[in-house]
Every structure is written in C-alpha cells, then in structure tokens.
Symmetry: C2
Subunit: 742 residues, 2 copies
C-alpha cells in the first residue's frame, strides 16, 4: 500500500468507527490554555493511556512550553511542536507534574539515543476516543496509537531502511527518577519505572511495572544509560562521561536514573511494526498477564474498535440535541469526566494496597486517582446520576482504602495519599453518593472512617487542624504557612461535617446528626459582617488584620485561602446558602454581592471553590433567571471546541463536569444535599438513560421550548407539574420523566 492509500484507508477506517456519540469527542479540547488534558488514546477509566509527549526540549522555537521551564503538569501542549515519544501512563487535568512515563519513540537512520536530538516535529494530527495519530516529519513515520484498560498499542508505519523503536524510561513528566529494564527476548522488554514526587513533594514514590512486546523480532537491540559526570582522573578514562552509553545486545537487568532500550529493524517500505505495552502497579508478571489478557495478537483495528465501543456505550447514556459545536463540547466534557478515577487492579484482581506496601486482591474494580477536593463537587454526582454502577465501585474502592490505611482518600494517587489540597472531601463524596441512592458498600466502615477523620486529634491524616477546629469552631490563621488556608480548610470541614450529619440522619444516628449539624453551622464564626467575607480569624478570636479580600487573586499566598482569595470563598457555604443569605443582609444584598463578585472580576471559572456561585441566584426567589444568564454567559466566555476550550486545568474532569451539567440545565449545588439547581439548558433537549438497577426511572428527558431567548424560561415543570422552586430533588428526578422549560 502506498502512503496515499494508507492514509486514505486510515481515514475511511476512522470514519467507519465513529458512528456513536464518540464521533463528537475532540480530545484536543483542553490541550491548550493549561487545561492539562491529553489527546492520547485512553479507554474509559483506563489505567493505561498512550499520549503524544511534546513537553521536553525544543524550546523556545519548537516548544514554547518546556516541562522544566515552569510548573508544568502536562504531557502534551497544543502550542508545542517537538515530540519525544508516546507516554503510557498519563494523568488528565491534574495540576501537578506526575507520570508521563514509558515513552515509545520510532526513529530512523543512524541510531541516536538522545531525546533532545531524536525528537521530531509532527503533522496531520488526528485524535478521537481510543485513537491518536500523527506523522513524524523528521522520519516520515506514521504513528498511530490505541489502548485497552491496562495496555497501549502503537502502530508505526516506516519507510524502507534502518528503523528503530526506542523505549525511554528516563524521560518523563514525573519528577521522580529511576527505573530498571530487561530485554527478555528480541520481541519483549520488561521493567519498571519509579514515579511519584507528586506536586514536588518528596514522599509517595512507587514503581509502575511494564512489559512491552513487539510484533516483529528486532534485528538488533540494546539498552542505554545516561552516565553521570565523573570526577578527576576517572573522568579521563571512562568512555561515557556525562554521556549516553549504549549497551549493545544487553540482556541482563539494567538499572539507573535515566535508562532506555532500543529495538532496530531493517524495514521495508510502508512496513508496520506494532508495540504493545502492558502496565501494572503490582508486578512485571501482572503487567504481562494484563497484556496477554487484553490483547490477542497485534490487531490494531480490533483494539481500537473496542475502545470506540466502550466510549460510545458510556457516552450514549446521554442523548442530546443541539448544534454540532454543542455536541462536541458536551460529549468531550462527558469524555473528560470519565477518565479519572481510573481502575488500577490487574486482570487477576491484584492491586496496590492503600498507604502501605503490599498487594490486595479484588473481584471488582479498584479505582485510583481521586482528586476529591475537585471531583466531590460534581464529577461524582454526575457519575451517581448517569453511571451509578461505576460510582458504586468508586465508593467501594474509597471505603476499601479506609479499611487498608485507616483513612478515606483525599488526593489519592496510585495507592498513595498525597495529602494535596485541604479538607475531607472523601466524606462528602461518599455521604452524597449514599443520599443519592448509591448504597451497596460497607456503610458502617465508611461512617467509622468519616468519624475518625472528624474526631482524631493526633496524627490526623485528613484533618491535621482538627484539634483547634474542634476547640474553636474554626481553624485559626495563627502559625499558618503560606499555603495552609485556614478559612478554606475550615469551610471544607464544615461541608464534610454537614455531610456526616446528613448521612447520620439517614442512618438514624440522631445524636451525630445534631452534633455535626452544629459543627457545620460554625461557619458563622468566620463571617465578618464588616467586610461580608468569611475572614481569617486568630486563635484569640480577633480577625486577621490587615485584610485585603482581593489578595490571592494572582496566586500569591493569601492568608486564610488556598488557591483563591476571600471573594472566591465568600459564598462557599453550600450546605447553608439560606443562612448565608441572611447573614449577608437578605436577598437583595446577597444578589448584589453575587453580582459584584462577577462584575469585579473576582469570580474564577478555573477553580473549584466558587464554581457553584452562578447557581446561587436560584436560592433567591425570582432571581433564577440570573442563573441561566450567568451560566450561559460563562459557557460562552470560557468554554469552546478548540484546544483552548477549557478555561484552565480540568481537575480530573471537574471543569468538564461543570460544563456537562450546565449545558443540561441542572447542577448539584451542595454535596450531601440531593437537590439540583435547575436553569435553562443550553442544549435543545437531553435524554438521560438511567440505570434501572439503581433508579426507578428508565430515562429522564430535559426539554426547553424554543424561544430564542433564555431568560424567558421561568416556568419549569417536572412531568407536567410546575415546580414551585427552581430545584429538583435527585430522588424525584431519578424516577424518570421530563423536565420542561417553558
């Protein structure tokens, strides 16, 4: 087949595959503007993914954003042009550098093992669920990748001549170093890569294991290691001082900070060589078992089709009507909400135990990568609504983590609690799920873990400030480090305590309900009537002074607040918005303050504390139309279909889940409260296919009259009964039926 035919066949093939809603997904959305998504091939909730890696070297001409030149958490940046391989373990929408390892790179000509030199520009990029391809300009190689849950598959189409496939274990996004590899045969490499040092913390390091298998035996192979800078006379004698040293034909285990392996092939014109790479977090043997189980032979089309089918099945739970652009935005948002948490167990059920050395075994899915400070707000409610079966497994995994480590997850990464961000969001995630009807988990164990975090005053992994919080009713700003955020922490604790209270109530634990409701109500202690802000307070009860509510707007440290300023947090009492309205001076004052937040540029669409603010108008009678207005305006302003179609870091799907909910016209404003705020959907109509094993209804339809103007949909009905408030309870909604906006 000549190249034209190859490309044509690829295009036809691609077209044939994209019959379902996956056809609307554009994986490039979020790959610019710090969205931190990757455009690579990934199965829904897949452990493995295969992403182009273009953040190393090549600056400033080719890669304006180099991974080490700034705090960078992205394996791929759309503005960059210099590709140094395809990484097989990637995070999507995460704010800290991690993973981006096990890089496969096809090259040609004289063997060059230096990624700074062997990298290439590329052209003709295409990406769709489970598929990415590009042509590597320097080598005239067509690269295509796809993936299963735990494995990647790369297909490289080479010109005639000397071709190579490099597996680089040194280069990566992670700041951790080190790996080992062993060339098992002319067709297989196995090994491990240390990852970790998440958010530049030194703790939380572990290995990820892999087995790479080639569709053809290599004609030549070898390993390499970047040698250190030697000293003195030794430096004169060693042949590879501060250089990359090749180990031709090497077959023993090789370890080092920066190692790799090459496989060389004398290729015919248009010869395709495929590489499977299976990963595991427990052992090399399991990586091989995963590979053997998930890929038979080297069948690129079949692997890709499986991924497409898996995506269509999940995305198809939401049927929508709207413009093509709206479909792209919506389905890509849903797609981005379905990447993390991802499974981590091997095909045989082995998984890394939480917070300890060793391996557990499970017969169900074990999920990992919980960015709960972000995702408890809307990703998990979205899953609870559309995929309660998956959310059940995620809750079960979180509870299992508590059983293993003593603590629910906060920012769990591959079995490690990274303790990134503040609060106790796992409590909220689980209580909220329970209240929405997700109940097939060990509720007693979950509740016990919640109480531990809420009460243990020493060595509290999740709530380190618990003792003063209990004594004072808030976390004091005294002794606070630049990133502690005493107000932010307190507010998260209030939400968590509210969730415990709600769960306690549902479980008939009246005393706990009272206790934790009281604790949740302590937010009032931080309300400063003078400024209208939730203001940092000292241990002695005095407000922090001086106090600038705008401080923190540009990410400078702001005492009391983490990732934001006082404005971003001023309405962050989701469990008692009516109470806050009262404190603020009543409805009119509250609306004024809300408006002021938006109008003064103190609303941040790219971060989580304030993302419910546009929906808060619903709490004021007669003002719900402002919600619709705000939401539509924010979508218009911040979201789109290009690589910059997300306003900032997707936070493992949180911005995307915000968009998906917002386009449908409903939003879960309060964790632990099952009311959705309702507002005019952007989409013409939505049909959600509910899981009848969990919910009585089989489908929920959301429709709006075609008025041409959004503000006029003040009349909302559910199953033809007009709603008195612009809210609908999850428990009612999942009985199925139709929400209509007139």
């Amino acid at each position: 087949m000549n190249r034209f035919l190859t490309l044509l066949a690829g295009a036809l093939c691609s077209a044939a595959m994209a019959a379902g809603p996956g056809q609307y997904v554009d994986p490039f959305i979020g790959t610019s503007n710090f969205g931190a998504t990757h455009p690579g091939a990934q199965y829904p909730h897949g452990l493995a993914s295969v992403s182009p890696f273009n953040v190393a070297f090549g600056q400033p001409e080719l890669n304006p954003f180099e991974k080490d030149d700034a705090w960078n958490s992205r394996v791929y940046i759309h503005e960059n042009q210099f590709l140094t391989g395809f990484s097989h373990l990637n995070l999507s929408g995460v704010g800290c550098p991690e993973a981006g390892v096990m890089l496969l790179m096809p090259t040609r000509g004289e063997l060059n093992l230096n990624p700074e030199e062997y990298g290439s520009t590329y052209s003709g990029e295409r990406a769709s669920p489970g598929y990415y391809s590009a042509r590597l300009d320097k080598y005239d190689i067509q690269a295509e990748v796809t993936s299963t849950l735990r494995t990647g598959l790369s297909r490289f189409t080479f010109p005639a001549g000397q071709s190579h496939i490099l597996l680089n274990l040194g280069l990566g996004l992670t700041n951790e170093t080190g790996g080992s590899l062993e060339i098992v045969s002319e067709r297989e490499i196995q090994g491990m890569r240390n990852i970790g040092t998440f958010c530049y913390h030194s703790e939380n390091v572990r290995p990820v294991y892999f087995v790479a298998r080639f569709s053809r035996a290599a004609d030549d192979f070898g390993a390499w290691k970047k040698m250190p800078r030697y000293r003195n006379v030794e430096a004169d004698w060693v042949g590879f001082n501060d250089k990359i040293k090749p180990y031709a034909g090497y077959r023993h285990p090789l370890s080092g900070d920066d190692i790799g392996a090459w496989f060389s092939f004398d290729t015919q014109k248009d010869e395709q060589i495929q590489v499977q790479l299976g990963i595991s977090f427990t052992s090399i043997e399991n990586a091989r078992a995963n590979l053997n189980a998930e890929q038979r032979g080297f069948d690129f089309a079949s692997v890709r089709q499986s991924a497409v089918d898996a995506w269509d099945m999940l995305l198809g739970r939401a049927e929508i009507e709207g413009t093509r652009q709206q479909k792209t935005m919506f389905y890509t948002a849903l797609y981005h909400s379905l990447l993390h948490p991802n499974i981590i167990q091997d095909v045989n059920g082995d998984y890394p135990l939480m917070g300890q050395h060793g391996t557990g075994n499970t017969k169900e899915n074990r999920y990992s990568v919980y960015s709960l400070w972000d995702t408890h707000r809307n990703v998990h409610p979205l899953l609870s609504l559309l995929y309660p079966d998956i959310q059940t497994q995620m809750v079960r995994s979180a509870v299992a983590m508590a059983k293993e480590s003593g603590w629910l997850p906060k920012w769990e990464l591959y079995g490690m609690e990274t303790q990134v961000m503040v609060g106790d969001p796992g409590t909220a995630m689980i209580a909220d799920s329970y209240l929405r009807g997700i109940r097939d988990f060990d509720v007693d164990a979950a509740y016990e873990a919640m109480l531990r975090a809420a009460s243990q005053t020493e060595n509290n992994l999740l709530r380190p400030e618990i003792e003063e919080y209990l004594n004072l009713g808030y976390v004091p700003v005294d002794d606070e480090g630049p990133y502690d955020g005493s107000v932010a922490t307190s507010l998260e604790y209030y939400v968590a305590d509210y969730n415990i209270a709600q769960l306690a109530k549902a479980l008939g634990k009246e005393e706990d309900y009272q206790t934790f409701s009281r604790r949740a109500n302590n937010y009032r202690k931080l309300y400063d009537p003078a400024t209208g802000m939730l203001r940092p307070k000292n241990r002695n009860g005095q407000w922090l002074s001086p106090f600038d509510p705008e401080l923190g707007r540009n990410f400078e440290p702001a005492p009391g607040y983490i990732e934001g300023n006082a404005w971003n947090y001023r309405f962050y009492v989701p469990h008692d918005t009516p109470g806050l309205i009262q404190l603020s001076g009543g409805d009119e004052a509250f609306v004024e303050q809300l408006d002021a937040t938006f109008d003064t540029g103190n609303f941040d669409m790219t971060n989580e504390p304030d993302i419910t603010y546009p929906f808060l108008y619903n709490f004021v009678e007669g003002q719900a139309w402002r919600t619709t207005q705000r939401v539509h305006q924010l979508i218009d302003q911040y979201f789109g279909t290009g690589p910059d179609g997300l306003p900032g870091n997707d936070d493992t799907g949180t911005l995307s889940a915000w968009l998906a909910f917002s386009m449908m016209g409903l939003y879960p404003v309060t964790p632990g409260n099952t009311d959705y705020a309702l507002f005019t959907p952007l989409l013409d109509s939505v049909t959600l296919h509910l899981n009848t094993q969990y919910y009585p209804g089989s489908r929920l339809v959301i429709n709006k009259a075609d008025t041409g103007s959004t503000e006029q949909h003040s009349d909302i009905s559910f199953n033809e009964r007009k709603l008195m408030r612009p809210f609908l309870d999850h428990k009612a909604l999942v009985k199925g039926g139709e929400i209509t906006f007139k």
Copy 2:
C-alpha cells in the same frame, strides 16, 4: 560486657582460632605499594568477601589515594584512613577498577546518608583469614566481619543510643552505575547492583544480586537516592535538587544510579547487631538460597571458625620451616594465590553462562575471574602441584566456557570475556595442566577450542591478529594502536602454539605437533641480532625504526610491547630458552645480557613478562648459583611482611605464587614444559602433602643443608640421587620423596 572485656574476649577468641598455618597469614600484605590486595574476610576461592572500603572521599588529609584521583583498582589502601563501609564483592590483586560494591556502614546519631559525611576514621585494625575488625573512631563502633563462600557476615557493636546500618548501592569501586533495592521486611533488603565497565571499557556490564538480613528488626528504615541536578524552574520546586533524598519507610522497589537503604536501631550499650549479606550472579532468589544454606542463625564465631578451618586445610598442604617472617611471607603468598579464580555458582548449581545471557547449572564448582595472562604462568602450576583437585575444576570451568561461548577464557570476569591483555593464555593454562596430570576434563573440547583460537581468521575473540600472524609468522607493528603490543602479542601466541604442540604430542596428534612447533619457533623472526632484542617488525619485514629498547619503562606507550619495554620481553621465549641462548651468542653472552637486564634496572619485578628471568641462569651450565642469588636478592628487595610486602599489583596471586615457589626453591619456568627450575630454597625445609588421587607420591620434602650461605648449594639431589641439571620434572617430583640442597 564492657568494652575492655569485649576487646579481651575478641582477642582471646582470635588467638584460640589461629592454631593452624592461617595464623601466619597477614592479609594487610599487599594493601600498600599498589599491591591491590584487600585485607577483608574471604573464604578460599570465595565469591563473596567483606573488605573495608577506604578509597572514597577524605582526600588529601585522610585519604591521600582517592579512587577517582588516579587509575585505582583498590577497595582498600593502607595509607588511607577514611572508611565509608564494608564492600561485599571485591577483587584481589587486579589492575582495573571493578566491583567493590554493596557497602555496609554502621553509624550513629542523627541519620546522615552522605558517605562523604558519614565516613569515619578507624583504629585497632586486625585481620586474619576470614576475619577483619576495626573500631570506627567517629562512632565508637566496633566492626567485625567474616564470610562464607557466597555470603558475608558483619557484626557491629554499638554504644547506647540511636544507631544505623546503611547499605549503599551507589558508592563502589566499579565505574558502572545503577542498582535496585527493595526493603522486604524490617530485617531484610534485597536487590541488585550493576557492575562492569572493567578497565574503563564500556562493555561487559551485568548485575550482581544480593539479600541482606539483619539479626534484629529495624526500629525505622528507609531508602535513599541521590537526585539529579534539575533544570530551571523545576530545580526551584523539587526538594532534593542534586541532593540525597530519603524515602522513609519505603518498601517498594527503588532504582537509580546512586541509591541505598538505612536500618535504624535504638541500641543498648554494647549491643551487637549482625548483618548477613548473600550474593549471587543469577538471581535474588538464589542470593537468598545461598544465604539460607551457608548461614544458620547469626553465629559469628561459627562462620568465622569455618573460614579459619577452610584456610588451614588448604594452607596446611605445605608445611614449612623457617623464620616467623618467612612463614608470614610464604603463607600469605599462598593465601593470595587461593583467592582467584573464585567460585561463582550458587548453592543450587546455577551460574551465569559465559558470554551470553542466561543461566547454566552444574553439580561441580564453576570458577570465574580468570586473569590468565598473569596466572597461567605460575598460579595454575602452583594449584596443579598442591591442589590438583581444585585445578581440575578450574580447567573444567574454562572448557565449559569454551562450550558456552566458543572461546576459552582470557580475562574472564563474572561470565564476561573482558579481552583485557593479549595472547591466548587459556590454551597454555589447560595444556600445561594436562601435561602435569590434570586430565579429568573434556580434552577434545578443550583442544578444539584451542585450535579455533589458533586458526579462525575472522572474528577471533582471543587472537584478533591471527591472520597476519599466520601469514607472516609474527604480528606486524603496522597500524598498531598505543596498547596493542605486536611483539608481546606474537610472543604470547608462540607460547600458546608451543602448548598446543605439546598437548598434540601427548594426544598422539603428530601433524599438529609439527605444525604448532613450527609456529612456536617463529619467534626467531622477531629476533634482531643487531640489538639482541625481540623487536617490532613491519609487515614488509623491516624492523621498526627508530627503536628505543628502554621505551615503555615508565608505562608510556611503546610500540610492540604491552606493559613493558623491549628489555622486559627480550628473553620471553620460555619454550625455547636454549634456542634463544644460541641466538644471543651463546652461554656467556646470554648470562651477560641477563645480568645487564637486572643491573640496568630493566628488570621489572612487578609485571609478568620477565618474572622468569631470574631462573634462566639455570639454563646455562654452572650458572645455577646465580639463580639462587638473584631470587634471594629479589625476595629480599621486593617482598616483605608489611602492607608494602608486595612489589606491585599481585595480579590475582601471580606475584604471590612467584614468591611461594621462589621460597620453596623450585619454579615452573615454561608453560607446557613440566620441568621445574631448582635453586636453593629460602625456607629451611618444605613438606608438600600431595593429593594421592592425582599423584603417586604422598609428600614431597625439600630440604637444604644449613650453610649460612646460599651460593654453596650447588649439589641438588632427589631421593638421594644427584641431579645432573638444576631441573626436575613434575612427573618425577610428584612421585614424592625429598629434594635436598647441599
């Protein structure tokens, strides 16, 4: 027990153990003056050894000889004072940096993971076969080490307080980097270390595996890694930029260039903690099996006693009379001759296949570390005489290597042919052994391997210059690199060919005998009557000009010669000394030239090509007394009982074997010729207990009349029959009896 009692008990214990000839061994001999021996604990032909490692950091005040400041092949140098641990894989008397890895170091106080800082001076060193001890001044820790064949055992006596035992996998003598480790439990660490890059060659790298086990569970533990120098903004964020990063409590596999692990203990006063470390060249599992098989419990005294017994048994095959100093010199020489080659197979028989990936299995000993350019001259003849059972196994191992790789060993290191030095000494080693009566090996396979090296003109691993050697009768100096040594190479080939001829004759292969005898006789083509030297010759038959026979004396490159100059090589035709005497102008001229060599300072006692020269006087009638004179003078001048008791690199026992033979009054001058040159022994009497399974005699006695002057022993008798020549054939000698010098 207080410290005084501890020391006293140690001293008593030590005294009690040293009843046999091992009591005379001083392992410090050769640890200065570039002898390159180590004073550590090593079992006879043991794979593992535990040696103090004092060649890193601390310069210039504490360590005048730092490993990277010069070409250094020593793990321990007597002049140095800064110890950074105890290494568990060590070479003795080798000229290139290698091994010296898996360093255990006890420390105290605040945990410090930087060897440059945690190293200590030491005092009160003691060493004897299978034992080394010293007090670490900085920590007031008593360190004692002993070993079995494949394991080390360290016993550290701590003061009360916070104590640590560090296992450093980064530091080492080898120039290769990289390792992996895993803390298996509070009492065990496993892993591997890449070694290789022998003589600064980039090839020949492999892992050595280990399991370290502690006598007590650690109270705290962790791993560490020296992190790289990060770049740009990344460098601002990572916590351990170009620093050692600790991983407290880490239990997963960790890999990197420079890693280690610490175990911490809250120790009582005088608490002893022991560490076993088993090694293997095939796998971690086998390292553990070796450890389990060779050490039961933590019984330091018993392990040490086993080593003492093993040494006494071997050393006791030679009983001698002489001064205490002579006994020290002789038994230490014998000791140094019994370290390499060392066994390499695991207790289950697994061993690394030669020159290829993979593992073989054997039911006998598999030897490794063959520095044959050195040792074929006298170490193997010494083994053939005193330990024919061991030499049999060494020959069998060498032949097995040929079966596995196609080639006999030359400089074989841990299953890798390093190709260091020139010639084909494996051929000579095996033929010589056969002729001495070592015949229980696959002679056909050995012979076939010899012929391959002697005839294969392409890709000849052992004789790369074979084609021109065959065509011209010598290796031409044209195109020679600075370290090729065309004359040296030719001379080694002649010796090898002579050995093939002698073996062929013994095997009844008359035609081969003729062919290879002719080839061996080609040395005459390099004899230059004008200078009396074996002189570099060009391809066209012209001598190299200009030509300075002294060039190379100071290790500068000398065309034609490797590790020496023309003088060092001028008599290196051991297989035809009579022919050389003729060429040189007859007996008188030859003696004059020999004398001139010594008198002009052109004899090098520290290197191999000329070490037989003092014995060549025996070839001239009536001049044998000069041999005695020279030998005694050389011993007196170059050998002794202090750390500088060897004149230079021991070359895996070659200088020591020279001394042992020389002190006994006999020397095997020619590989492949079973005559020993006889001369007056330095020792008063020698009784060798022969192995009657190999030799008809049960013992050989060497006696000399007490004359007070060596020159007068011109009357040599064997079994009371006066010898007409100052030579005695091995075949006669091993019938047993008595050699008397009157």
